[in-house]
Amino acid sequence: MAAQAPLLEMEGISKRFPGVVALDNVSLTVGVGEIVALIGENGAGKSTLMKILGGAISRDSGTVKINGQPAEINSPREASALGIEFIHQELSVLDNLDVAANIFLRREPTTGGVLKLIDRKRIHRESDEILRKLGLGISSRTLLGQLSLAQQQLVEIARALSAGARIIIMDEPTSSLTLTETRRLLELTKELKAENVSIIYISHRMHEVEEIADRAVVLRDGRNAGEIEGSEITHERMVRMMVGRDLKDFFKGAAGSAERAKRDVAFEVRRLRTLRYPSHRISFNVAKGEVLGFAGLVGAGRSEVARALFGVEEALETDVALDGKDLRINDAHDAITNGIYLIPEDRRQSGLIVDFNVRENISLPNLESYSSAKIINFTKETNAARQAIKAINIKTPTPEIRAANLSGGNQQKVVLARWLTFAPRVLIFDEPTRGIDVGAKAEIYQLIRKLASDGVSVIVISSEMEEVLGISDRIAVMHEGRLTGILQREQFSEEAVMRLATGTEG
């Protein structure tokens, strides 16, 4: 499959944003029918490079050649005309329209002369054909909203193919897929390759890259950090190239759990039934100073457990005790009063008010304690915010910056900071490092360890295998609403977690 003339050559691409150099002399080539993985930390410049290729933003310098011909791409439409199609991380399909309408969006064949009626027969015929080819057993008349996320994503791929794509850019395509769905997608990329479609595959999931990529292009801080070919592509090598250090360094001090786990049980979840999985009862406990990991596939019901414990989601049954004292948790206020706090999965939607500044976000749940007679004492509030900012090293010039303008890692710290102004007993982290770059990740892990050693009972829900294995003292694994097992540190292995997570055991 070695390419004749490369299909795509991006040469010496640079892009400056006010104050930062996003891309500095970056090059990328893609051959016909080649799967190129583009990897790097968040902020390494992957998205910027792809946006330039997709015509969403312009480059400051450098050249783009398609089939050896210089190409000017100034809009997504022009990119599409050259056969470049994007499969976005967040789906860009319209769920109120049917599959065929989505596949042909903005390219509708018309009939009826000036009336410009959509040729419905044709779009359904052609859509059904493509769907069959992709092995997607659905009708083109199905409403998008009725499909699973994975199916919707396949519809996006169908759209790209139907538009005559020669290069498909997939940005974190598997981030919300289950294991089976991921397998199907990976198979599909290989099939596309066999039909000479080239793929630029952006992913944080190293196993996927290992499996499918012909070549991995690594970016670091807006520059090319290196390339790895074929069988040389291994997890270790990629990570080292991405971060310039070893992953194992992250989890220093994670061990020492054995004696911790034997301590007194602090937080007992005796019985919990969530609305989503009413037929399964969950029970577990967390000791003082212990980190209990929660592993499982997306949709296993872990977040539902967390939200129910924090009182933001109704549960059918909750029987919970802290230090032997029964708790009634009807809403978040009850949880907060009892020292139970949640750092939710979606920090921009649930964790923060992004239009509030850092000070306001930190003080929000604890506002009463900075007030007398319900009137807020601004000085007290600001001091508390400053203290929190300093204590966990939030990078912001002042507490008055809007939370929206902080990086993901610093936003996550703001959510954490607000709970640290109390004296936490139980902290529940739901995907604490999602969308956070490697440096900030390490800091979050340190904070979690620090909290545990201060005697807090910590629950960490994580879909990242290394994370959950590295940070936890014990790991609880869920599968479709069921708690399939709890692993002790000495039982930890990827295989053990995976067996429980896929329900093949227990």
């Binding site: 206020h333 939607q349 239009d355």
Partner: protein, 325 residues
């Protein structure tokens, strides 16, 4: 504060232009009249502004005023209520009706637009029904001096409705901008889910805000009833909710919720009333009344939007610089 400054400048410029073209603008009688209008409109506009900050809307204001106006008249002239009892009943009805709105919106998750639109239709119809569509006045009932004074009197030459507005605005300012409740209100309006995750009882915050709006509407309603001295159930208070919404939006409240200020609402109200006054004084055909208002509001909100985006861009640039260091 920058937002308010912009519209304040607009207000001052308008005043200067009007007084340059027609010096009668500065006559005591005109200014007093203007202040009286600003007072009466401002009180309920503050309530509406608070509701808008929750991310909601209240469309039934005008109809509610008509209903409360005719009830006030009937209680005093036909049903033999004492003055205090009638006032208390009026304020109470305003709050209870709004409590209903708040509960429907927060407990049944109905859309504020729908709930209050139904209120708009329902209260107007009810007002016309109980009165048989007849205009109601206050005849020769004794003991209304104080209420008439509230609507038509002056305190040291300052019209009473304006005095009331300043008092109410001062209280609301403290509550909105300095109290825990105010911060919760902004949080709830901005992002109800995140507010809930911070342990805020968002449902009660929103419901309470509607009740406050109902109270302020009732106060305005009483002033208007005694100001016009007769209440025509079909026309009294028509489209007043739109004045309130316009004032709030001009003053920087976002219909998306979570944004706005008491000072802004005050300036917005003043601007609207100056515009109405201007149409009169400059001899613009009064049929153009609404067109002038529409145009000025559009320009004001447009300018504000442009400034906001600039400010956000500046802040992003600041962040970039510090992170690059």
């Amino acid at each position: 504060m920058k937002k308010e400054l912009g519209i304040f400048v607009l207000l001052i410029v308008l005043c200067i232009i009007v007084s340059a073209i027609n010096p009668n603008f500065l006559l005591t009688i005109n200014l007093q009249n203007l202040a009286r209008q600003i007072g009466a409109f401002g009180i309920f506009s503050i309530g509406l502004g608070l509701v808008i900050i929750t991310g909601g809307i209240e469309l039934s204001v005008g109809s509610m005023m008509a209903l409360l106006g005719v009830l006030m008249s009937m209680m005093l002239t036909e049903w033999g209520y004492g003055v205090v009892a009638a006032v208390v009943a009026c304020l109470g009805i305003g709050m209870v009706l709004s409590l209903g709105h708040g509960l429907l919106i927060t407990r049944l998750n109905m859309q504020p637009f729908i709930v209050t639109l139904c209120g708009l239709l329902f209260y107007r119809g009810l007002a016309r029904f109980v009165t048989n569509d007849e205009t109601k006045g206050f005849g020769s009932v004794e003991g209304l001096d104080f209420l008439r004074f509230l609507a038509n009197g002056n305190l040291f030459h300052v019209p009473m409705p304006f005095v009331l507005l300043i008092i109410i605005a001062a209280i609301t300012w403290v509550v909105l901008h300095r109290s825990v409740y105010g911060r919760y209100l902004f949080a709830t309006g901005r992002n109800p889910e995140a507010a809930r995750y911070a342990g805020i009882d968002t449902k009660n915050i929103v419901t309470f805000t509607y009740v406050i709006s109902g109270l302020l509407t009732a106060i305005s309603g009483i002033i208007f009833a005694f100001y016009t001295n007769s209440v025509s159930p079909a026309n009294h208070g028509n489209a007043y909710e739109l004045y309130g919404i316009a004032a709030a939006v001009l003053g920087g409240c976002s219909l998306r919720g979570g944004e706005g200020s008491v000072v802004g609402i005050l300036i917005g109200t003043a601007l609207l009333q100056v515009l109405r006054n201007l149409v009169n004084l400059l001899g613009i055909p009064s049929s153009l009344d609404f067109a002038v208002m529409g145009a000025v509001i559009l320009i004001g909100v447009m300018a504000d939007q442009i400034f906001t985006e600039r400010r956000i861009r500046r802040q992003v640039a600041l962040m970039r610089e510090t992170s690059a260091q």
